[in-house]
């Protein structure tokens, strides 16, 4: 069985967008991704992605250093409001877990059914891994993107590393 690879991803831009579907849709052009994606799915294009984590709760991911310009551009969209956009780029760390056993590894701490039939590529949600809250996004059949609050990242990484060693 191929190894399961856990990588900490480089810093990126994260904006918390809180908006009803209609105002969110008006931001699609400025962000470059069609907003809002269906609930619990992600839409992405280029280096940008939007994860619909709740009815009015969208996590926008973008290239590093884009926060200020994006906030400005999105605020400038005519008739966009009322929405809430908040820069949380430094509040979270991203991990990527790759390998045919990636789902099993995540199930060492995550209680969700990660079978591709129930959690296919493009699915995303907030959930738990052990005692840490995470955002889980399946970017491919055997690839998961995980967002975790900065201060929980060492705990999550240590748990994943230990579990991965036991899977091998």
């Amino acid at each position: 069985m191929a190894e399961t690879i856990i990588e900490t991803l480089p810093p990126g831009t994260r904006l918390a967008l809180r908006a009803a579907p209609e105002p969110a849709a008006r931001l699609s052009g400025a962000f470059g991704v069609v907003l809002p994606p269906p609930l619990l799915t992600a839409a992405h294009g280029g280096k940008r992605a939007a994860l619909r984590l709740g009815p009015d709760d969208i996590l926008l991911l973008a290239e590093e250093g884009a926060a200020a310009s994006l906030l400005q551009a999105l605020a400038a969209v005519p008739g966009a409001g009322p929405v809430s956009l908040t820069d949380i780029s430094h509040g979270q760390i991203a991990l990527r877990i790759t390998g045919p056993q990636a789902g099993e590894l995540l199930n060492e701490g995550c209680p969700l059914d990660l079978d591709p039939a129930t959690f296919p590529p493009g699915a995303c949600t907030r959930t738990l891994f052990g005692k840490a809250g995470i955002v889980l996004w399946r970017t491919g059949a055997a690839v998961f993107h995980v967002e975790v609050a900065r201060s929980f990242a060492p705990y999550l990484r240590a748990l994943l590393d230990e579990a991965a060693a036991d899977l091998a």
Binding site: A19, T86, D87, I88, H90, A132, S151, Y155, D166
Partner: protein, 967 residues
């Protein structure tokens, strides 16, 4: 040696060395510890808990009550109460017997057996009830004699894991029915998990190779089935895995024990299944006769397992004591393997003719309508009278070293019962069978009362495919258990593990216990590791017999998880040591650690408490840090403060309803110290509300309140005021917060601040600017009573900005300080800490903050409660300052009284410190009518009983030096 030269499923090419009580022995791969012991002729493996009678191996499975041993795998890996029947043999295994003092062969406490009348049912309850104090004398002795095993005393170095899994079909039990179910389910393409507690799948087939399935020998069919399942991509086969708990919505917990030498010792599986198929089998019943607990007495089914699966002949000359057909076949097979059969003693007057004919053909003597009682070297058979007692003037001596018991079968309905399915009594099965299920679960095979192999396969195929089950098939029969226990010798053991005899149960009933649940607890029948496997049905039959009622009228005890014992390590999984819970560190943690800071836990956070210099203790370090802040400037990591971005056109309205303060008049660029109450009017949290724009606020919470305040805000926003257009976003972890405090704090940061006129930033102001080139939110606030700033920068940039501030502050003597100095500094100014000065019963007015309440506001959380009479009464406890007269720091938590010796507390000390600024100890406290007592003295009661006088003063020990408001 009792190992047969051929046969069995052991691997004779892989001999394994092991030891038992220091004796070096040899077994083979594929053995359990129990089979290897029997193969070596070891028949005494433990002592009973109460009478310390020698005990042998009764069963070949998880129901084993006697062969509980201590397995020592070295390095702290010492596990008591391991069932030798479930422990796979491995090379170097070290096992020790339990409950023997001083040795297994000579047990001093076995004398207790002679004193048996002294230890009747309920002995422990009665002993410990009265007379008072007597147990002090007896308890150490009883503790030594009673109980199971020794708890390990070193940390367990092994690794344990947890895994969540989902499937369409979970099949519990890999006997013929379970295998057939898994095969059929796999064919439908469903996700299947098949688990079995044994190291090898097969269940009863492993013990009965003579059977055939679909025209194939049983073991050929078995090998094919297992190979098919293991190769199937949608099937997971878990061996050595016990499903021990069945929860709601088909959520089951399984404990997997990994092979010796694996990285992991055990793994807890938590499985959610759409359907569950229980193929959990059945457990044989013992018969009640004197000596039924002797080494050498075992279940007839166990003997067949030893013989066929492990190629072990468990005795040379056997007697079968039977009330049921099933044991006869075991005796025939033992005879074929070379054992002598002394006789078959059947409780029934007329066993089935085919069995009698076969016994006759084999030349085996049958004593029908007889019972037995033990002799030192065999059994005494006697006719059973109509009342079940033995007719003692017509005895027959049967020399033997093996007594097989065949009392019928108890379906293993534990998991079905845990699933909240109903059990129903079935006369034909003479057992409780699964009735109406409460979840999507079916029971098949022996746990359903089916004993025919072809029928088990058919039931498995139907259950696996999800179609309805064929009718139950039962071929063997026997004497009803209720009738079999009638007249049984009172010394017969019902529960050998708990040393409960038939007379113990009869006594309990005579003493008035009627409910089976009460009898169970009073006599301890079926408790400990048994959990209703062996003792319950026989014990129930004795109760029913004594009460002269039918078994279903007596009822059955509740089955609860775990089905078999589960180690704590398995339940804890990876959540131990540093991974017990997340250890959160703020962005400046690494810098503080490099400085040699001493940390303290605050919730899950690790915060720097103080920064000792060489030779300094905590008091000296804190004093130096405090003086630096008061005299020049200090720098402090406040990143753990909770932060919430409140955005939207109705943000002001929302915050006015949440906090007590008036906020409508808060201009952008200004901030305010605010209090949050619960609906009952008591303080829940405090923080700073900074207005960044008309529709955007930066709100801080206490470190501990970050999650709960956001939750509370969301609650009101979503459920009370969904019309408000406001959104909340946690920014706690986005911002690193660098507090720069002290009279020279402005000078320190001035060279670093760009984009605003720092001199124009008023106290309690907020501005967006850059600090050391990093985009920042700069608050001119503090929690020290000095001029101060809190620089919020994105957390990843916080270390660089911190370094820049340190560098810029060096000429001014800037000093890092920790949470302890922060506590002292705020106490000198009388600032409260929520959770220290408040405890959920304290109102704003109690702590002198009534002025914060927006008097003209129509509503805010808790407003109505502040008008309740008891909130306005005089005599509430109020925040005061306290000056100890004898100049020692009082204890936090010390009760305050009006005079030494008074038993009426007037309040308590909430915080106490040595104040470097005042050069004396200070304390804050909550004191009844505290504000009118200012100028008087009260007494603080220490935990050692001392009463120290303290003077009541204003909580503001020092006057503000700068303009800083409470922050």
């Amino acid at each position: 040696m009792s190992r047969l030269p051929t046969g069995g499923r052991i691997d004779r090419s892989r001999p394994l060395q092991f030891s038992f009580d220091g004796r070096q022995l040899e077994g083979f791969a594929g053995d359990t510890l129990a089979s290897a012991l029997l193969a070596n002729g070891v028949t005494v493996v433990g002592r009973g808990t109460k009478y310390h009678r020698p005990r042998g191996i009764l069963t070949a499975g998880p129901e084993e009550p006697n062969a509980l041993v201590e397995i020592d795998r070295g390095g702290g890996r010492r596990e008591p109460n391991t069932r030798a029947t479930m422990q796979p043999l491995f090379d170097g295994l070290v096992a020790r017997s339990q409950n023997r003092f001083p040795s297994l062969r000579f047990d001093a406490a076995a004398l207790a057996g002679l004193a048996a009348p002294l230890l009747p049912a309920g002995f422990y309850y009665k002993t410990f009830l009265s007379p008072r104090g007597w147990h002090h004398l007896w308890e150490p002795v009883l503790r030594r004699l009673a109980g199971l095993g020794r708890a390990p005393d070193a940390p367990d170095p092994d690794r344990y894991a947890n895994r969540y899994a989902h499937c369409d079909v979970l099949v519990v039990g890999a006997g013929p029915a379970g295998l057939a179910a898994a095969l059929a389910a796999a064919e439908t393409g469903e996700r299947v998990i098949l688990c079995d507690e044994q190291a090898e799948p097969g269940g009863w087939l492993l013990s009965d190779p003579q059977e055939s399935i679909d025209g194939q020998p049983a073991w050929t069919w078995l090998d094919d089935a297992v190979a098919t399942l293991r190769a199937h991509p949608r099937v997971r086969v878990l061996t050595s895995t016990t499903a021990f708990h069945y929860g709601l919505q088909n959520f089951l917990a399984l404990a997997e024990i990994l092979p010796e030498g694996s990285r992991l010792r055990e793994r807890l599986w938590q499985i959610r299944a759409k359907r569950v198929v229980l193929a959990t089998g059945a457990i044989e019943r013992k018969l009640l006769f004197h000596g039924n607990d002797r080494p050498g007495a075992m279940f007839a089914s166990a003997a067949r397992t030893w013989l066929n699966r492990y190629a072990v002949l468990p005795g040379r000359r056997a007697v079968l004591a039977a009330s049921h057909d099933s044991g006869w076949q075991s005796v025939f097979q033992l005879q074929d393997a070379g054992a002598e059969i002394a006789a078959i003693v059947d409780w029934r007057a007329a066993p089935p003719p085919p069995l009698l004919e076969e016994a006759a053909r084999r030349g085996i003597e049958v004593l029908a309508g007889h019972g037995v009682t033990a002799l030192p070297d065999g059994m005494l058979a006697m006719p059973r009278a109509a009342d079940g007692t033995l007719i003692r003037n017509r005895t027959r001596t049967l020399f033997c070293d093996l007594v097989l018991m065949a009392g019928g079968w108890t379906p293993t309905v534990h998991l079905f019962s845990q699933s909240r399915g109903r059990l129903r009594w079935d006369d034909a099965a003479d057992a409780f069978l699964p009735g109406e299920p409460a979840q999507n679960v079916v029971c098949i095979g022996a746990c359903r009362g089916t004993d025919d192999l072809a029928a088990c396969i058919a039931e498995g195929q139907a259950a696996g495919a999800g179609t309805s089950l064929p009718p139950r098939v039962q071929r063997a029969g026997g004497l009803a258990v209720r009738a079999a226990v009638t007249g049984a010798d009172g010394r017969s053991f019902v529960d050998p593990q708990n040393d409960v005899t038939a007379d113990d149960i009869r006594l309990a009933v005579r003493e008035g216990f009627r409910s089976i649940e009460h009898v169970k607890r009073y006599t301890t029948t079926g408790m400990a590791t048994d959990q209703g496997k062996i003792a319950n049905m026989v014990g129930l039959a004795v109760v029913a017999d004594t009460l002269e009622r039918a078994i279903p009228e007596v009822g059955i005890t509740t089955f609860r998880g775990p089905y078999t014992p589960v180690s704590f390590g398995t339940l804890a999984g990876r959540h131990r040591g540093v991974l017990f819970e997340p250890i959160r560190t703020p962005p400046l943690h690494d810098w503080a650690a490099a400085q040699g800071a001493v940390f303290e836990p605050v919730g899950l956070w690790q915060r720097a408490r103080y920064f000792p210099r060489p030779g300094e203790d905590m008091q000296a370090a804190v004093a130096r840090e405090c003086r630096a802040v008061r005299g020049a400037a200090g720098i402090f990591d406040a990143s753990t403060l909770g932060k919430i971005e409140v955005v939207g056109p109705d943000a002001t309205t929302f915050l006015e309803r949440i906090y007590v303060n008036a906020l409508a008049n808060l201009a952008p660029g200004r901030c305010r110290y605010a209090l949050l109450l619960r609906e009952d009017g008591c303080i829940a949290d405090d923080g700073i509300i900074g207005r960044l724009a008309a529709d955007r606020f930066h709100v801080t919470t206490t470190t501990g309140g970050a999650a709960s305040v956001l939750h509370m805000m969301e609650d009101y926003l979503q459920t009370e005021w969904p019309d408000l257009r406001v959104w909340l976003t946690s920014t706690t972890e986005h911002w690193g917060v660098i507090a720069v405090q002290g009279p020279r704090s402005g000078e320190v940061i001035a060279p670093l601040v760009e984009g605003i006129d720092l001199a124009a930033l008023p106290p309690m102001g907020v501005a967006c600017c850059t600090v050391a080139g990093i985009g920042a939110r700069l608050f001119s606030v503090g929690f020290t009573g000095e001029r101060g700033f809190e620089i919020n920068v994105p957390a990843g940039h916080a270390p660089a900005v911190w370094q820049a501030v340190l560098q810029a502050g060096a000429p001014h003597g800037i000093t890092p300080y920790g949470t302890e100095a922060m506590h002292v500094l705020r106490a000198e100014r009388g600032y409260i800490i929520v959770g220290q000065e408040t405890d959920g019963t304290v109102t704003p007015d109690d702590v002198g903050l009534g002025r914060l309440i927006g008097k003209k506001k129509a509503d805010f959380i808790g407003k109505r409660s502040l008008d309740r009479p008891d909130m306005r009464t005089t005599g509430r406890r109020q925040l005061v300052g306290l000056l100890p007269i004898d100049a020692t720091v009082p204890e936090e938590g010390a009760q305050l009284v009006i005079a030494p010796g008074s038993a009426t507390p007037l309040g308590h000390i909430t915080s106490a410190y040595a104040s470097p600024t005042l050069g004396r100890p200070i304390a804050l406290g909550l004191l009844q009518s505290g504000r009118v007592r200012i100028g008087t003295s009260v007494f603080a009661l220490g935990s050692t009983g001392t009463a120290a006088p303290v003077k009541v003063v204003s909580p503001m020990f020092t006057q503000p030096a700068g303009e800083g408001e409470n922050g």
